[in-house]
Symmetry: C2
Subunit: 190 residues, 2 copies
């Protein structure tokens, strides 16, 4: 068994942004967390920019209407850009419901891989990690993506991740295979 | 002549934040720009977070009153934190007039080196890189640090940089000597 590490890639070409988009409770954060140790084991620097945590860091002033979501996605893009151009893999787990925001992120960051976490709405609602679907259906909150706010699925995602009847580890491994195919990480991983 | 590179430092200990604070036109950005190639030549990843440019990236919504400046400094801290914990040297060139903001940055980032760019106000006014002192003295703008807005000098900066009668290159070299003394970069630089 041979082992190849991220360090084998030339300095300056190790970083990229893996942008996971999908409905609330689609599994974005779970998949990203499963990817972190696997990418680190390849010798890569990895930073997880998770929706909630990065909001506390740079967007605590923002709400969840369209303008606020777009502003937030723009700030996340900036952070992902400065990380990825310094050889860090920036994992972004963000609903990012608008195609326009994701197109801007791709354009700004350059080394950009869009992952559509394609979990059906009814499955997301069953998972309901934060209890937000239930609150939205009860009318206790508004502006819930998938309920009373739109989600625009990617038309040409670089990677599609299906999560039904698959463990987070299986999904993460499948994404790594795709990343190798795309030339973002070495092909042979031992 | 021996040469030591940043790569000699263990992975995970190469990053830190060099936070340059001082009056407008004190020389923060000029010094930071002089440092970039020198640090890169040591094998380090370097990102310059310059006041104006990073405002466009993450704070285009903010003005220059105290609350806005503190919010902006907090966002810059977040970006410097995620960079420095991924082995990137984050150079911050920001007036950052308030001790409280800088104390929060130190606390959040951890690997933090505060550089007080100690240029007398009258020298800064003569330089007046952006013409802002002239505008402030003419009453055309308000909230100008050093004129009608306070600047709180660091009480215990890690490094003091004097810029009068010194070239940017000389100041940068002096800072590198101090960084070596502080253990942030290797001592011998060839």
């Amino acid at each position: 068994m041979s082992e190849s590490t991220g360090s084998n890639l030339p300095v300056g070409e190790r970083g990229f942004c893996l942008w996971l988009t999908g409905l609330p409770s689609a599994g974005k954060t779970t998949i990203a967390k499963a990817l972190v140790p696997k990418l680190k084991a390849m010798g890569l620097h990895v930073e997880l920019l998770d929706g909630d945590e990065i909001r506390r860091g740079i967007s605590s002033d923002l709400g969840f209407d369209r303008a606020a979501r777009e502003t937030h996605a723009g700030r996340v893009s900036y952070v992902a850009k400065v990380l990825s151009r310094n050889d860090v893999v920036a994992l972004v787990a963000l609903i990012s419901p608008y195609r326009s925001s994701r197109a801007r992120a791709r354009s700004e960051i350059g080394r950009f891989v869009e992952v559509y976490v394609d979990t059906p709405l009814e499955v997301c609602e069953t998972r309901d990690v934060k209890g937000l679907y239930q609150k939205a259906r009860a009318g206790a909150i508004t502006g819930m993506t998938g309920v009373d706010d739109p989600y625009e699925p990617p038309e040409h995602p670089d990677i599609v991740a299906h999560t039904v009847n698959r463990t987070p580890d299986e999904v993460a491994e499948s994404i790594l295979t795709d990343l190798a195919r795309l030339g973002r990480i070495p092909r042979s991983r031992g």
